[in-house]
Symmetry: C2
Subunit: 531 residues, 2 copies
């Protein structure tokens, strides 16, 4: 009896375990493979940059006269590295009439290594292009007199999700039978409802056909057409072909996650709470006295604002105090490495960049800069820096990139700005500013300060930010610059001398190599022009 019960019990337990094991290993889904190899896809049509398109046979004989004032503005094939020549050779000429100088960047490299650098850069650029091009940038032209109605923009689906495709219809002349079909490549087509009198073929597949003898029924069915993304990619686009007899159309469905916000808690309502909104960031090297002067001057006006300090001095001293955050780096890691470190630590909505030899005064009203960023769509707003002489600089720079061919693009920088900002008469929109600015922390962190730039560098940050940073500059928020003028009767301190050695490296050192070499390799420029 007992042994029977035991056996039965064991049998039950064994079966249960077996069933559970079976259920657990039951294939829940079959996985498909995806091809994510880096290989050149079908040539993506770029928008036409040739001066004038080839005329077809109908237009070949129609005369025209070039309008040079406009035609001259069109992009050329490739860019040329040239500045302005000539000009008066008078004293102060460069000051009064700044001429544009052109700097070919390949000169950063030894002749012996240049060819290999070019090839390596071309290979890296190819990979970059394959990762950054999207079918959503391809030129599509809507043909005239198309009986098809369809969405040309604004259709988007989250990866692996399903949407109704809006705006589909067909307006055809009376026929016996109306047929439309769809073809997609990164997902499948289907219908969310079935309309009487319409035959659906290929629903759930990448090619679907709808047929009906009644046009209004077909159009009602078209309102229920769905697209489901099946080939996962975080940010791409599917080009859908839509056809009816004798006519075709192409439209794009973007397949991507939405932009997830990165919002910051700004503290209680009311006046701008600078401590809750702003963190001051700076980098220091060997100039503890100047750094302390900066801190003391900040504290006169903002006693609880956090100050983040990146320090790559050789024998770091302790810098402490309430709301001071001091980071020690390996000796001499460098300027942009320090800047990137400092901004990487900011937890407030805005970050204020200052150099360690600035001095806050009663004119350094951060509230004004916060006001600009709170009320406009700008991402960054620069202020003004006043030298001991009284000369105040905003260092506004406009930048544009002229596409080049295999040699690389041309970067053009000019002093100045684009527009004055409505409502802020002391402020303008530009592309680069002086090293005293307030910015949205998430945007600055996203652009970053390239740690490869060890010594002299400034506008490289704004170059990296082109297209993502919307930059402004106001000349009514001023910080003082502790004097750099070497007064002849004041002897340099030891730390000043060491500082100068690192800060102003001799012409043949790595610094120029890194700055121009980086523009050449990293950003794929061949030329830099500026005035």
């Amino acid at each position: 009896m007992r042994s029977l019960r035991k056996t039965v019990l064991l049998a039950i337990v064994a079966s249960v375990v077996l069933v559970m094991a079976l259920l657990h290993s039951w294939p829940t889904r079959a996985y498909t493979t995806v091809d994510v190899w880096q290989r050149p896809g079908p040539a993506v049509e770029r928008h036409l940059e040739e001066r004038f398109p080839e005329p077809d046979h109908r237009s070949a004989n129609i005369p025209y006269r070039v309008k040079e004032s406009v035609a001259g503005l069109l992009a050329r094939n490739g860019c040329v590295c040239e500045g302005e020549s000539g000009g008066m050779n008078l004293p102060f000429a460069q000051l009064l009439f700044p001429r544009v100088s052109a700097h070919p960047l390949h000169t950063a490299f030894e002749v012996s290594e240049l060819e290999e650098m070019k090839q390596r850069r071309a290979k890296e650029y190819q990979g970059f292009q394959m990762r950054s091009q999207s079918p959503a940038d391809m030129l599509i032209v809507a043909e005239a007199h198309n009986p098809l109605q369809y969405p040309t923009q604004g259709v988007e689906v989250r990866p692996l999700k399903t949407i109704l495709i809006p705006g589909l219809a067909v307006q055809d002349h009376p026929r016996e039978l109306y047929t439309v079909n769809f073809t997609s490549t990164l997902g499948t087509l289907n219908v969310a409802a079935e309309v009487g009198g319409v035959k659906v073929k290929g629903d759930g597949e990448m090619h679907m056909t709808l047929t009906s003898s009644l046009l209004s029924n077909l159009n009602r069915q078209l309102q229920f057409v769905t697209y489901t993304n099946t080939l996962f990619h975080p940010s791409t686009a599917d080009t859908v072909q839509f056809e009816t007899e004798g006519h075709q159309a192409m439209f794009t469905i973007k397949v991507r996650h939405g932009v997830t916000p990165k919002l910051y808690n700004t503290g209680p309502k009311g006046e701008y709470n600078i401590s809750a909104l702003v963190t001051i960031a700076t980098k220091t090297f060997l100039r503890y006295d100047k750094l302390q002067d900066l801190i003391d001057s900040v504290r006169k006006y903002y006693s609880t604002v956090t100050i983040v300090i990146a320090d790559d001095s050789e024998n770091p001293k302790m810098v402490s105090g309430p709301y001071i955050e001091h980071y020690i780096m390996p000796f001499g890691k460098g300027w942009f490495a320090g800047r990137n470190l400092a901004v990487s630590q900011v937890t407030t909505k805005y970050v204020l960049w200052v150099d360690d030899d600035f001095i806050f005064t009663a004119n350094t009203k951060l509230e004004k800069l916060v006001d600009v960023l709170e009320r406009t769509t700008l991402d960054l707003v620069g202020g003004a820096v006043r030298e001991a002489t009284g000369y105040t600089a905003t260092y506004r720079q406009t930048m544009s990139i002229e596409p080049g061919e295999e040699e690389g693009d041309c970067l053009h920088m000019r002093r100045g700005f684009h527009h004055i900002i409505q409502g802020f008469p002391n402020c303008v929109v530009t592309d680069g500013v002086i090293n005293f600015f307030l910015a949205r922390t998430d945007k600055v962190q996203q652009v970053g300060f390239d740690p490869r730039l060890a010594r002299v560098a400034h506008l490289e940050f704004f170059i990296d930010g082109l297209g993502s940073l919307h930059v402004g500059s106001c000349d009514d928020v001023i910080v003082n610059h502790a004097t750099k003028i070497k007064l002849p009767w004041v002897s340099q301190s030891e730390s000043d001398k060491t500082y100068a050695k690192f800060r102003y490296p001799p012409a043949s050192s790595d610094a120029t190599h890194t700055k121009n070499g980086l523009l050449y390799f990293k950003n794929r420029f061949q030329c830099l022009t500026h005035n």
Copy 2:
């Protein structure tokens, strides 16, 4: 005589100075103002998410039958925070049949502060929307039987530059006079050449009309139409209206800088030079013994790879050696602050993240991970971590965001992956991986590790990366995890105890508040579900 000469000389000098001063102050250009205020613009049409669009009068009587298997996939209005209920209450049930649990995130806040948090979040979100929405996302539908031919996608101009608009034509039935006109808002229209027999009105303005009695001449003229962006913005789009009698069309011209590449020098050709390609990054806190074990194990296989260490221990010890870069942070700054610091310092193409208690073995072949990123378009590839028990984890997570309404979106995380990678049978595509991964440095720096996350956090990085990081996971590159199993007979060291106090905070501390509170506020989620 002499005094006459002097006077003449003085007069000349005075005139020259006067002329130079005049020329210098000569107004070189008149600046226009630009409106960059954050205010809600015209309502941007989002793509239709209602289940079924309203039928018009023609379709109202046509019957249809809902296809639930497809209709059920469409997004609902708002998302609901619910997990899976019920399920077997057996031992190991959660292990064998992981149920989905749902976590409403507003619970991170005290009831008293929740309402204010919601309002503050809504205000910040509004600002974010105004900065991130673009006319290029607006729904545009091409009408059928339009005599106009025009580009629906792929037209782009650099800020303040000029392009030819491609693909313009009109195909009309014979008329006495053919007229087309264009209207733009962020730039002006013009013609690069003037074609005989066509009258151009409004060239150089925001509204331009072309008229001709000869259709082929008008079409030839249309091949010379140009657009010049005049209102600067680093990344926006101009919606151009194109009309002829009785018909209109709308198309978008993107106004933006191109994406500037950020390429890395990869060292000499040949086999993968791991030291030139990869930097190892880690964060440490109080576990110098484990950190040293990690370093020693790395050096067995990679003697010259740079290791960047972010350290926020209270009394930092010196960690030195060739290719070691040790950064000291303020005490207890935190986990993600340290991660963000470490990656901010990387100057190689790839960065390998490791925890400070990992041990490299012969199975930790970085070359395999480099191979994946060199040959695919993935941005990040995770490996596997083996515990002392032999259990090896890849921690693959898929993620999707279901849009919600004012309450916020719902984030859904599920274990698993999307596809197997063609050509790499041990690798898959997914959204989140374990804390052992190789990644493109520029992409990781762009996404960043939010320094607001002080303690327990992991997938938040991948959440922030949704849409920009293309993530993979390979299970054949394995690193060992120094054991965490608390053996009963081994007493914890003092540093172990302090570590545990910081690493595993009690439930009511700030950590949970920060993690969920951050998901609620920063990313605007209302709910997190996972299994």
